[in-house]
Every structure is written in C-alpha cells, then in structure tokens.
C-alpha cells in the first residue's frame, strides 16, 4: 500500500455530538457496509453500548476510500465522548496523524470538545473541525464554526459542515480528509516499531492487539518482541478491521490493524508497549501511555455470602475484557468477604456492576464510591487510602490530602452567578472565566474531586436548564482539614457506612445521614441505635424503636399459597441486604452517603 494514500485519524467530540453516526456515513461511503446491513452506530457493537446509546470503547476500522480516482486507505477510530473514558481518546490519538473534531451545530463547543481539542493539539494532530447536525432546525453552523476558531484557536479554513444523519456534506468531508490530513510518516524499510494502542480479549484467539505500525513491516509468522515486557511471541495472525476482522499477510509503516500472538490474558500485554522484530529489534521503544488511572473505588459484596466465589470468577472474567478496572479481595467485619474495586469514574462503575450482575447472576451489595486520598503519616511515609475504613487512626496522621481536579464548565452567561455560588459551596477555587460568545462562558475551577463526584453534574445541569457541560482532570493532591466520620449500628462501627469529609461539614452531614439511614433501615424486631462519631466523640444519634406489630390477621378460605407468597415476598425484599449484628441493612442505605445536601 502506498503510504501516501493512508490517512490515520480519530473522530473525537463531546458526548452525543455524532461521532459514531458520522463513522456510519464514512463506512457507507466506502462501501464497507452495505445499506442493508446498516444499523445505527455500527461501531457501537457491545450490548451495553447499544442499550445505552453511547460509545464506551474506541473502535478502529480500515476502509478503502475512492477519492478523485485514487483509492485511499482510511484508518479511523471512533472514540467515546464520556469523561470516564477519556483515556481511550488519548490512546487513539497516539495512533493517528489527524482528528475530526465533531461539534454539534445546535450546541456549539462543549466541555469535552475543549478537552479533546487540546488533546489533539497536544498530540500534534492535524484537526478538521466538523460542524455536525446541520439538518436540525436549531443548527447554527456559522456561529459554531466561529466558536471553534475563537475558543479553540483552530484555523477554520478547513471546517466542514455535515449532517451525519442525512449524509449532507460527507462527500466534501471525505475529500478534505484526503487533501488536508497528512499521510503517516515512518519508514517501511526501518526496523519494526508498532504501537499497541488497544487490546481486546476474544474467547477463541486470546488477546488481540491493536497495532499502529510506526516503522518497518510486520508479517505473519514473524518472531516479535514486546519491548516493555521483554517477551517473545510468534505472530499467528495479522489483519485489518473492515470493520470485521480480516486477515492480511503483513502490515507496514503507517498502517493500522491487529495482531494475534498467543497472548492469553489482557494482563500479558501493556497497552502502549512497542512490538519489534525479535531478531533485528529497533533501538528504542515508542513513547507509550500512562496506564488509565482508577479515580473512584467501592466495595462489591455478594448479597448472599455464599456467592463469593461466583463473584470472584465473574470479576476475573470481566477483567479479561476490561483492563481498566481493578479489584482485590476485601474483608469487612460488618459485611464479610468481598472486593475493593477501582474504576475510571461513576459511569464506568455502573457499567461494571451491571455487567457483573448480568453475566454472573450475582446480586451485589455495593458500598458508596470514594475517591482515593493520600495520607502523610507521622513516620514520613505516604499512603493511598481509597475507603474511609482504611484510614489510619488520627494519631498516626500528619496530613491528609485529597485529589484536586481542574474543571471546565461551559454554561450560559446568565448562569454564572448560580454556578459560582454552587462552586463556593463545593469548596471550589476560582481559576478563570472566558466568554466563548456573548451568551456562553467557560468557567475554570479547581475542586476537591470528592465534592463534584456524585451530584455536581446534575446540579450544574439544573442550574443551567440543561445547557451546562463539564469536563475535569486530576491535577494533584492537596492537604485539607478532613475528618473521618464513623457510623455505628448498635455500637458496632460499620466502615462501609463511614465517610471522609471536610471538618466544617461533619456535624451537618453526620446528622443528615443518620436521619436518612433511619428511614432506609426501618424498624426491625429490636431497638436499633445509630450513631455518627469522630474518633470517640459522638456527633449525632438516632434511635429506632422496635417494630411493634407485623401480623396478617386473616389466613382464611384456605388460600395458603397466596399467604405464603406474600411472606416470601417480604423475605425476598431482604435479598439485597447485608446483616450487621442482627440489623438488616438494605442496599439503599449504603448509598445515602452520596445523597445531596438538600
């Protein structure tokens, strides 16, 4: 393949701006999918992606694209828009020379548009702004193009106006990709250097590595070296995604494809590693990536204690497919045996939980998610703590640090006041304010991550009538006056209900959470005392009197089955519960820690 006719690019955008739909149109234009096979967002092939209508995992595809009498090879990567999966975008960009920055013409530049544009610039990609959804009545293509130029500093010379839905403008876009985006550099004759930019697990073939060939040529049967691991493998299959996996004999500089090489587990290969020839290795590896950082942690416990090994097997199986969550055994006095799991964000956490329950049929009791804190101990050591229960006692702690995220919010100008007030409440630190247009403002704040993790986005949405968007990334850790509020149920402290918060909020939150716990736990057969304490000092207390009466008066007419079913239902209500001491704690109780203040 003539390298000059190859175009490697990713499609990036704010969530829902139409990346996957645009990919459909490109595939269709290339004839890679027949009109008959076309369903919407063909690259979103995971069941969960189709159910939720979002992209979770980046997909690469190679298509032959005839443009002005020449046949180009387009290697495109459709990426997810959600902030949890931002690392997928970063990975994709490292395998590309260009990017289509899709912007919804009815919404303009949004928070992830900004984040993705900067990432593309940082990766030295040539950017084509694609103003999408111009078929919609509310579309403002010209203004949106101006915004892209003005806000992101991207030259609007090559801007394209399209409707990924109707196909309008796609022809011009295809031509622009061919003319504007550069062909890959790299030397097919040099020693092999191929970047592993993603990997997936396949039940039959084992691990499939996504490769971008930077230099040299890779061939089927070749003995290769994974440079980071210093391990040798024989290439058993090479191919391209068209979009179905299609074997080829070789891939050379500039091309994108996949490799199968007897790798058994996802953990056997590091995404970002370099593949080179085992006999004539390259002098150095390509720059790789940082591994994805788990941002939130929570515990999963099997609702029935007996299902522990089912849960473990399910986690193992899932980690074959998703290398971006972590898990390790956890044993809680109150909740028994389970797992501490780390996720990229809350959406990721939900997805993993859903897949576990669905694929393993295990009911899970989940503790409230927590961010990861950093503790400077008196002895000078620094330790990570990702659950309140693991915090050392105060006498051992020199300093407690919390993760700080820089946050970009794009909001209507008239919402600046309310959003600033909201940011104040959440201990936000103002950084800057920039008018994208007379009507729209980008606010930058630093927040303790903990303060925006749960409901901040909902608050932002409601304070901006749905127009606000946000994006964040971790900038570091900062010391703060944090305390651990311990919750006790009938005198027994329950780590899973304890939480870390700023000292100034401890009393109020402690009281509110006890109040809510009281409602969720409900009266039981004996008295229940709930307490919140900082160290040995009790800051709040609630008492639940024992249940006085629970009896069906009538059991008549001989309809025994019905009566039994009613009682069984009452019992089944206890399924997703954990028993602490004798107290039944429903799943919802573990989540009250997350509820907003008002």
């Amino acid at each position: 393949m003539d390298q000059k006719l190859i175009r490697n690019f990713s499609i990036v955008a704010h969530i829902d701006h139409g990346k996957s739909t645009l990919a459909d149109r490109l595939l269709q234009r290339a004839g890679a999918i027949s009109d008959r096979d076309l369903k919407e967002q063909v690259l979103d092939d995971m069941e969960l992606e189709r159910e939720r209508g979002i992209t979770i995992k980046a997909s690469a595809v190679s298509i032959d694209m005839p443009v002005d009498g020449e046949t180009y090879m387009f290697n495109l990567i459709d990426t997810p828009g959600h902030v949890d999966f931002h690392y997928e975008v970063d990975r994709a960009m490292a395998a590309c020379d260009g990017a289509l920055l899709v912007v919804d013409a009815t919404q303009g530049v949004q928070a992830q548009t900004v984040a993705n544009a900067y990432a593309a610039i940082g990766n030295d990609l040539e950017i084509i702004p694609v103003i999408n959804k111009i078929d919609l009545p509310g579309a403002q293509p010209e203004d949106t193009a101006l915004e892209v130029e003005h806000v992101l500093g991207i030259d609007a010379e090559h801007v394209q106006f399209v409707s990924a839905k109707t196909g309008e403008g796609v022809e011009e876009l295809v031509r622009a990709i061919a003319k504007v985006l550069p062909p890959p550099k790299g030397d097919a004759g040099a020693p092999l250097q191929a970047l592993v930019f993603d990997s997936v697990y396949d039940d039959y073939r084992g691990v499939i590595c996504y490769l971008r060939i930077a230099n040299g040529t890779i061939r089927k049967g070749q003995k290769v070296l994974l440079m980071g691991r210093a391990r040798h493998y024989v290439v058993t299959e090479l191919g391209k995604f068209r979009p179905a996996m299609t074997p080829v004999a070789s891939l050379s500089a500039g091309e994108v494809g996949y490799m199968v090489a007897n790798l058994k587990k996802l953990q056997d290969v590091t995404v970002g590693d370099t593949v080179t020839d085992a006999l004539a290795p390259a002098a150095e590896a390509l720059p790789g990536y940082d591994p994805p950082a788990q941002m939130v942690f929570c515990d999963f416990y099997p609702a029935g204690g007996e299902e522990y090994s089912e849960l473990r097997d399910a986690l193992n199986r899932l980690s074959l497919n998703d290398g971006s969550f972590t898990f390790q055994p956890e044993n809680s006095d109150a909740l028994g045996f389970g797992f501490r799991c780390g996720f990229l964000g809350l959406l990721h956490m939900d997805i993993v939980q859903e897949r576990l329950e669905r694929e393993a049929g295990v009911d899970i009791v989940q503790t409230a998610p927590s961010v990861s804190y950093e503790v400077l101990l008196r002895d000078g050591k620094v330790q990570r703590v990702d659950a309140a229960g693991d915090l050392p006692t105060p006498d051992k702690i020199e300093e407690l640090r919390e993760p700080i995220v820089e946050t970009q919010m794009i909001i209507p100008a008239e919402s600046v006041g309310p959003i600033m007030a909201l940011a104040e409440q959440r201990r936000g630190e103002y950084k800057s304010q920039e008018y994208l247009s007379p009507q729209r403002v980008m606010l930058t704040y630093e927040f303790p991550f903990n303060e925006i993790l749960y409901d901040f986005y909902d608050k932002l949405k409601s304070a901006t009538r749905g127009y606000g968007t946000m994006d964040y990334h971790v900038v570091g850790y900062r010391a703060s006056d944090l305390v651990k509020v311990q919750l006790l149920v009938n005198g027994q402290s329950v780590d899973a209900l304890s939480f870390i918060c700023h000292r100034s909020a401890a009393d109020r939150r402690g009281r509110r959470i006890l109040h809510r716990l009281r409602q969720e736990i409900g009266r039981q057969l004996f008295e229940i005392v709930l307490q919140a304490a900082i160290g040995s000092k009790v800051i709040a207390r609630e008492t639940l009197k024992p249940l006085r009466k629970n009896v069906t008066a009538k059991c008549y007419g001989g309809d025994v089955t019905r009566k039994r079913k009613l009682l069984e239902k009452q019992k089944a209500g206890k399924k997703r519960m954990k028993t602490i001491g004798r107290v039944d704690i429903p799943q919802k109780a573990f989540m009250v820690i997350l509820e907003p203040e008002d």
Binding site: L525, R548, K549, A553, C555, G557, G558, D559, V560
Partner: protein, 380 residues
Amino acid sequence: MTTSAEIRSLYVHVPFCHTLCGYCDFYSQVIDRRSVAPLVDALLLELQQLAAEHEIAIETLFVGGGTPTTLPPEELSRLLRALESLPRGEDTLEFTVEANPATVNSEIAGVLARHAVNRVSIGAQSFDPSELRVLERIHAPKQVVDTVAACRAAGIERINVDLIFGVPGQSLAAWESNLERVLELRTEHLSCYGLTYERGTPLFRQLQQGLVRRVDAEVEAEMYETTIDRLGAAGFGHYEISNFARPGRECRHNLRYWHNQTYAGIGPAAAGFVRGLRYKNVPDTAEYVRAIQAGRSPRIEHERLTLDRTARETAMLELRLIEGIDRRCFAERFGHDPMDLFRDAVAKHVELELLAVDEHALRLTRAGLLLADSVIADFL
C-alpha cells in the same frame, strides 16, 4: 382421625354480596339475580365431579364468600341440600355458613337449620355506626343482635362473630366498647381481626390518597393485647392469632387449614389442597360457570408441593396457632424435628423472645404474636 377417606373437609365459595365493602379483597360481586341459578348449578356439578373422583367422608363443611346468605332461600336450600347429603365421616359434622347481619332473617335462619347447618359465622365487624360507615358495611349495629337471636331461635347454637379493630378513626376505648358489646351476645366463638389494607381495594386507595389514616401502630398493638386479655377474662381460649373460643368450641374446619391438612374447595376463587396438590379456581363467576358447563376444569393454579415446602408451609400455618408446632407430630409427618429443620430461625427468634420452645412444642410468645409475619417469614 381414623377414616382413610381423602376428603373430609370442604369449602364452598359463594361469590355474591349485597354491596361490596371497601376493605374487602375476597372475590365477590354484587348479587345479580340472573347469575344465581347458573352458579348453584355449577357448584352442584363441581361437587358431583369431586365425588366421582375422590372418596368423600365429610366432617367439616364451610360455606363462605362473599355472603352465602344473600342467595334467595330456594337457591340456598338447593345448595345446602346437596352438601347435607354428602357421605359423612366419623366425626360429627361441623357445618358452618357465613352470614351478614343484614341478610339473615328468621326465614333464612330456618333454611340453614333445616339443612343441618349447625354453625353460623356472622360478619359484624363493629357495633359503632361511624366505624361501619368507614368499612362501608350496610347493616346497623342492632341487626347483629337480631341475627344472633334469629339463629338461636332456629336452633343453631354455635355462633361466631367477626370483629375488626384498627378501623380508621377508632380509639382504644371505642374498641373496648365493641368488645363489651360482643361479649353481651354470649356466643361461643369470636374472631378479632386487625384491619388490613389490601392492595387494590377502595380502602387502600383512600389510604394512599390520604383520605383515611391508619390507626397508630402502638394503639393497634394495644387493641390486640387488650383483646387477648379481655376475652381471656371472659372465659375464651385464644387458639389462633385472631381466633377465640370457649373450650372445645374451636372451629374444626379452620383448624384443618392451620394444620395444613387436606381439604377440597369448590366455587369461583376457591382453593383446595388434595393429594399434595394445591389448586385454585378461576376468580371470575362467569368464567367459572362457563368452564363447568363446558366440562373444562375451572382450576387456574396448580402447585404440587414437595415435602420440604409442605413442611415449611405447615410451620407457617401452625405457628399461627397458640399451641404452636407440636414437635412430635411434625417429626412424624416430615421426618425432622422442627428444631433441626429451622435451626437458624428458631435461634434468632428465641433470642429475641418472640418464640418459645419446650420439649413438646414451638410457639410464638405474646410479643411474637404481634410480629408473627416477621417470625414466620424466616421459616419459609
């Protein structure tokens, strides 16, 4: 218990009432003269069918509903005559008919007595006109007294009266005066039920809409405890969660249910338990009649019980009895001492003092009676 006949107890469901009470979730409909004869015909056919397939030696009969006494006298006679002539078992027949105060006059009472009915269960519910209105009952308090008198005049001595406590707006004192009124009637049997708000009933909707308010759980608990004490003092034995009887006058038919024994049921919505099979008839009169006429089975639910499930159900039912689960009988029937079969549940509830255990039996304590559902759920 010497006869080996399969069916010694029979329940007959008559799905008609004059008006429907707001709290009631029994299957019933407002009586419509034209549906009466076809229903009675169908009941008699189902009875014939039953007799053809099973050996019957009847010892307890219970005609419930609905309100059987809404049937016109000639139709009621037709039904009772057929029941009366079923083959008898060794125990003397206990033949109960449910009645509502506004539906029994001396004529109806006479019909009952003529056909061997020897026990009447009267749905009084309350003696307070305002409480009766909340319950949407049509009778006046005085009619309860008249009904009892009419039954006695006809020679039916065994009388039960049903009362409901925890009616919205009812105070503890108001309930106590209901108890005094019912004791004046000197019946041999009393049933006192805490009001249940059944899903799907008009009263339940009123509760959800905030039109009526639940009696405070604490007050309701006191009403129940007062009932136990007051009736005990008046010479009634408390033998099931909601049932009280003078010694030897317990309802034998209902005891069969509570011991999880075999019984047959006929009529729309009737349930039965025969040859280890639980079944239920379609709860729709027209559909029931059509099925019987066409020679189809009216049964819509079937459940064959495993031994384990039967054991659990038996525990569920027998725990409702004040004497509780007889350990020896249970072990003979199911091969396990209930102490072993329900070890965790027993340990938990004994510790909570809701359950008492001795060498003979497992029974709810006084506190346990109030929380029976919570305890029993752990036995399922």
